[in-house]
Each structure stands twice: as C-alpha cells, then as structure tokens.
C-alpha cells in the first residue's frame, strides 16, 4: 500500500515538472493531457487507499527520510493515509482531475496554457503534502506551498493593468495575488507561533506524539495552541477579519477559483481544526469562539452575496459563508460533520464555479449578471448543472447540501446554542435567495445580453463532461452520510445528535421552509422585473454592496498609515541615517584613495623616494620596538 501513497502524492509533481518544462513554449495540448492523466492516476491511487482502509481499518504510514535532524529536533519526511487524509485526498484529486480536464477547454486560447497546467498540478501536489503529512512541519510546508501556488494562479494574468475603478470595476490580478499572499502571511505567523508552542511544550511535531501528550499539558497552554493554530486557519479559510482576499482572488482564471478558492485550499483551515481535534476538544471555550465566528461569517458573507452584481464574487461570498458553516460544526465538536460538509461543498461549489466559467466564456469574460439573462436557451447543460449545484448549495432534499448543512444546523441546535442556530438558519435562507437570484438573472428572464452585442455559445462537450461527475456527486453524495460517519469516526470523535422524533422533523422542516421561501422569493421577484431601483439608494444596500466598507476601512486603517510609515522610514531613517552612514564610510575611502593616488605617479625617482621613506619608517620602528638588552 505504501506504493499507492507515493504514487498518489508524486504523480501531480511529475505532471507539474513536465508541464513546467514547456512553460515558455507556445501552447502544447500534450501538457494538459499529461497532467490530467497523472492526476487521474493519483485519484485512482487515492481510491485504492480508501478501499483498502475500509477493509483493513489500518492507516498506511510512509517515512521517506529524515528531513531535519538537529540536536533533539527530529522531523522526518513522513506521510500518512488515515481516514481523514484519505477523504481529503479523494476529494482533492477528484475535483482537481475534473478541473484539469475542464481547463484544457477553458484555457484553450490562453498564451500561458502550459504554465497554467504546471501551476495547477504543483498546487495539487502541495495540497496533498498538506493533507497527507504525518507531522505539523510537513503540514506547514504544504500550507505554504498552496499559498504560493494560489499566489501564482491568482496573478496568472499578471500583465493586466491596474485600472481605476471607473474604467474596470475589478482590480488587477497582481494586486489581488499580493493581497492574498500578504493576508495569508499574517495568519501564517500565528500558525508558526502555534507550532513553536507545540514544539516547546511537547518536544515533537509528530501528530501521534503531540495528540498523545496534549492532554497532560496545562489548560492555558492548550488554549494558546488552539488560538494560534486557529489564526492560521482563519487566514487560509478566509474567516473574518482576514476574509477580504478571497473575493479579490476571483481575478484568477475561473478553474482556479473552482479548485483552489472553493473546493480545496480554503478548506485547509477546516482540515487543520479537524486534524487537531485532540487539542480543540480540550478547550471547548475556544471551540465555541470558533463556532460563533463561523456563524457570524456565514451570515455576514451571505449578506454581501445578496446584492453583488459580479457573477464570481457572489459565488466567492457563498464559499466564505459555507466555510463559516464548517467552522460552526468543527467548533462545536462535530468534526466529522465539518469534514462531511467540506466534501459535499467541494463538489457542488466546484460545479458552480465551472458553470460560471462556461458563462464567462460565452459572454467574453463579462461578469456583471445584469448584462446577462435568458442564457438558458443557448446554454442548456450549463444551466442545468448550475441549477443542480444551487439546489445542493441551498440545501434542498435530496441534494448533497441538504444532508451536510442540515446536520450542522442540528448540531448547533443540539448543543443548545440557539442563537447560532438562528443565525445559520437565516444564513440558509440568504443562501437560497442569492443562489437563485444568480440563476434567475443569468439564465432566465429578458435577454439583456443582446443589447450589449454578445453572442453566447455552449462550452465544449468535454468541459461539460468534466462537470457531469461533479453534478452527479452533488446529487447523490448526501446519501453516503452514514458510511461516511462510520468511516471517519474510526479516527475522529463521534458526535451524536440527541434530537429525535417530532423536533428533528420540525427542524428539518423549518430549514427546508426558509430555503424554499428564499428560492421562491428570488424566482418571483426576478421573474417580475426584480427589485425597484429605489433599493439601490437605501443605506443598507450601499452597505452590503460595498462589503460593509471593510476594504475601505482596511485601506484607511492599515494600508495608508503603513504607506506613511514606509515613507518616513525611507526618507528619514533610510536616507538620512542608514544611507548617510554608508555613504560617509564610502566617501572617506574614496577621498583617501583620491589623495593617495599621487603616490602612483609612475616616476621612478619619486617611487624610490617613497621607498626610502618607508625604509626609514621601518628602521625607526625596529629601533623603537627592539627588545632592550
């Protein structure tokens, strides 16, 4: 079985290197095909591991070599395929295989075709390192690796100019990439501190050792660990207040948004919390804080999605909101529920994004949903896929989202955090509303695109074929809830919901009711011309449309003072003190050299004179310093 672990891990790396070798060449179809095929190999290996694990119930461990060995610190380069990491592996490799195939069509006219596949496979490799590592150091390497690939891919179209908001409402890709990278850097510092605390108190970073000893520690220390690790998770999973980068990350190519900023990378934070459950189950207070933050983000992000007009940003806010749901489950101790929602969400959110990619392609990269409408007639399959994904996202029976999301609501209710439950419930309504607002505005109603001179067309057949498995999973994945629970609770703690009978039915009914009414409201309103323009004048609309003015606030609060500070550091500190000192020393040497230059006149008699002077000086020195007899 070790063989399959290594194949699953290194096949994407091989693909990445292969495509990378063609990076500067014009488009070669082979790079796309080879990387996709290698990812499929990786997916099959993950599946084999999954079935093996189902049978033997024993995790596969591989130690490649000792990586860092200094003094008492010993970090091996080891990997593990246990219940949690296998679930992550299968999800990651499945979605990324499909996204790779899809990208062959999506990027077909892009001059960076080969480069794109190289980055995308490198991302998958990093993500696999992240989920498969058997120690925190390896996890951190993967963590940084996905951050790097995310940066490369958000800024994939780095040559696009940074235009003022009036010309182009979206920001430049390179700016977005830097924002994402810097935000993550802030969070990673927190995570590093968390790792230091773990190493300081336990003396190892190996999961087994850490989790076996963590309950012996002082509760205050465990709390510190939990807080700092969660700061890292907040950055990667874009939780408030480090959330602004995710919406801006939509500047990358759409398959990237589907794979990285919806299905896999952003769930790394959730994975970290789930993986560190022995730490978090010791500190329910921090767990409650995580859950509360998650519920807040769930509503907060959903409310921003309600009014946004940008196709991809709506889905991005939806991702944020769903990540909030996952954190609620993880925070309240229902780790397997969080993991389950992570998996189902990966399927339907990737599907939604790929559908959005088709729409963008058809509309020449137009993103404003108010310039679309009536696209159902020309893009039937895309529309059907996106409706399926939206139904799953809204949590309608029998789609996948119903099972996972409803479970989270039940958990919140069961833990007697009724306020959290209420927030999530409202969030569910909002989710349904904005999903179907998007569907209605894009696919139905008046064909506004004709006014703007677009000629939409359906995507390639293989792009649709790549979406089909995701659509299937978005429908059926929910029915695997029980085997899933049984499988992952071999490793994760069990969580039983104690709500039965009429109350459980009532809860499900309530949730379905608000989701359905959200859908009904969206369908009714937008099939009758939408909301009146007066809405746009209200304060609340402006507040939501401007993302609660948080980007502006950050600009004023952090970026501008930082700019000022940098200016002072540059003009006052650097130029006047550091540079001045260096220039002064250089000046002395330069001037003395200039003065001493006359010695080298090339005139023999002058040089002889210098020689004699030197001789005399040496003689004097000999006389002065000769030992006295």
């Amino acid at each position: 079985m070790e063989k399959y672990v290594l194949i699953a891990l290194f096949a994407p790396l091989v693909g990445s290197l292969f495509a990378g070798a063609y990076a500067m060449k014009p488009k070669r179809l082979i790079t796309g095909i080879v990387t996709s095929a290698l990812l499929f190999v990786s997916f099959v290996s993950s599946l084999i591991l999954l079935f093996d694990l189902l049978k033997t119930e024993e995790a596969v461990r591989v130690k490649l070599f000792d990586w860092i060995t200094t003094g008492s610190l010993n970090i091996p380069f080891g990997f593990v395929a246990d219940q949690v990491s296998v679930i992550m592996m299968v999800t990651v490799t499945l979605v990324s295989t499909l996204v790779h195939v899809y990208s062959i069509g999506y990027m077909e006219h892009d001059k960076g075709f080969n480069r794109f596949f190289s980055y995308l496979s490198a991302f998958v490799f990093s993500m696999l390192v992240l989920v498969m590592s058997d120690n925190f150091a390896g996890l951190f390497i993967g963590w940084e690796g996905v951050g790097l690939c995310s940066w490369l891919l958000i800024g994939f179209w780095y040559y696009k100019k940074d235009e003022p908001k009036e010309v182009n409402p979206s920001i430049s890709p390179s700016w977005a990439a830097n924002e994402a990278f810097i935000m993550n850097r802030i969070a990673d510092l927190g995570m590093l501190i968390g790792l230091f605390i773990i190493y300081w108190h336990i003396g190892s970073l190996d999961y087994n050792v850490v989790f076996a000893h963590v309950n012996l520690l002082d509760i205050a220390i465990i709390t510190m660990m939990g807080i700092f690790l969660f700061i890292g998770a907040m950055g990667k999973s874009a939780q408030f207040p480090l959330h602004t980068w995710l919406a801006d990350a939509m500047e990358g190519p759409t398959p990237v948004s589907a794979l990285i900023h919806a299905a896999t990378m952003v769930t790394a934070g959730v994975y970290l919390v789930v993986r560190s459950f022995p730490i978090y189950s010791q500190i329910p207070n921090i767990g409650f804080y995580i859950a509360a933050l998650g519920a807040f983000v769930a509503v907060f992000a959903a409310s921003m999605a309600l009014v946004n007009t940008d196709l991809k940003r709506i889905i991005a806010y939806s991702t944020l909101s769903q990540l909030g749901y996952m954190f609620v489950a993880a925070g309240l101790g229902a780790y397997w529920v969080a993991l389950f929602h992570l998996m189902t969400h990966a399927f339907f959110k990737a599907l939604l994004f790929l559908g959005a990619g088709n729409v963008m392609h058809a509309m020449n990269d137009e993103l404003n949903i108010f310039k679309m409408g009536g696209l159902y007639k020309v893009m039937r399959w895309t529309a059907i896929f996106m409706i399926i994904a939206s139904l799953a996202l809204s949590g309608i029976y029998p789609f996948a989202g119903f099972f996972s999301k409803d479970k989270i609501l039940e958990v919140a209710f069961d833990a007697q955090h009724y306020i959290l439950w209420f927030m999530l419930w409202v969030g569910a309504g909002m989710t349904a509303f904005y999903s179907f607002r998007l569907i209605m505005l894009v696919f139905f109603g008046e064909e506004r695109y004709k006014k703007y001179g677009f000629h939409p067309h359906e995507a390639h057949w293989y792009m649709l074929a790549a979406m089909a498995p995701l659509a299937l999973l978005a429908i059926v994945a929910g029915f695997f809830e029980e085997p899933f629970e049984e499988f992952v609770t071999q490793l994760l703690p069990e969580y039983h919901v104690h709500i039965h009978g009429i109350l459980a039915v009532a809860l499900i009914g309530l949730t379905t009711l608000i989701a359905l009414s959200g859908i009904a409201l969206a369908v009714y309103k937008y099939s009758h011309g939408g909301f009146s323009p007066k809405w746009k004048e209200t304060f609340i609309y402006k507040l939501l449309y401007n993302q609660y003015y948080i980007p502006v606030l950050y600009e004023k609060l952090f970026i501008e003072p930082y700019k000022e500070l940098s200016k002072i550091a540059w003009k006052e500190l650097d130029l006047r003190i550091v540079d001045a000192t260096v220039d002064f020393i250089a000046g002395i040497i330069y001037k003395s050299g200039f003065a001493g230059r006359v010695v080298q006149s090339g005139n023999l008699s002058k040089m002889l004179r210098w020689m004699v002077i030197g001789l005399l000086i040496l003689l004097v020195l000999v006389i002065v310093y000769s030992p006295v007899r």
């Binding site: 230059r597 006359v598 005139n603 008699s605």
Partner: protein, 100 residues
C-alpha cells in the same frame, strides 16, 4: 686601532652617499653607479663582521654579492643601451609611461 665600528661607520657613510645618489640623480647611468656603491658598502660591512666573528660565511656572501652585481650590471647596461637606442635619452623621467 681600527675596530669594527670604523668599518661599520664607513659602510654606513658609503650607503648614505649611495642613497642620496639614487634619490637625486636623474641619469640612469649615475643611478647604476649609486647602486654599485650601495652594494659595496654592504660588502664592506659583511667582510668586517665576518672577520670580527671569525666566521667565513659573511665573506662568502660578499663574493656572491660581487658576482651577482656584475651580472646585474651586464643585464642592466644591455637594457640601458636598448632604451637609449629607442628614446635617445637615458633620463629617468623619460621612463614614466604610466600615471597614477
């Protein structure tokens, strides 16, 4: 009685004369003369000290110096003649082709 000191003083005086010659003269031929004087000043010192200690090494060394000085003069004069043929002068300042 002529002691070692007298020889050494003579040697020092001769060496100083040579040094001044080296520094002051502009004619290359004179420079050669000055260096010969300097070498012979050293030879005197060698011979005197050798006699004083009763050790023949110093005198042997003086012979070496004489031999080497002779060959040096042979080579040096050859170069000097070539230089004179090229430039028509053996003034020291005419040797200056590099400037600092």
């Amino acid at each position: 009685m002529i002691t070692l000191t007298h020889y050494l003083v003579l040697s020092a005086i001769l060496f100083s004369i040579a040094l001044v010659g080296v520094l002051r003269r502009k004619n290359l031929l004179m420079l050669f003369f000055a260096t010969e004087i300097a070498l012979n000043a050293i030879n005197i010192a060698f011979a005197a000290i050798s006699k004083y200690y009763g050790d023949l090494t110093g005198q042997m060394f003086a012979f070496f110096v004489i031999a080497i000085a002779a060959s040096e003069v042979a080579v040096g004069l050859g170069l000097l003649i070539i230089w004179y043929k090229r430039r028509g002068t053996i003034d020291l300042d005419s040797l200056q082709t590099m400037h600092g």
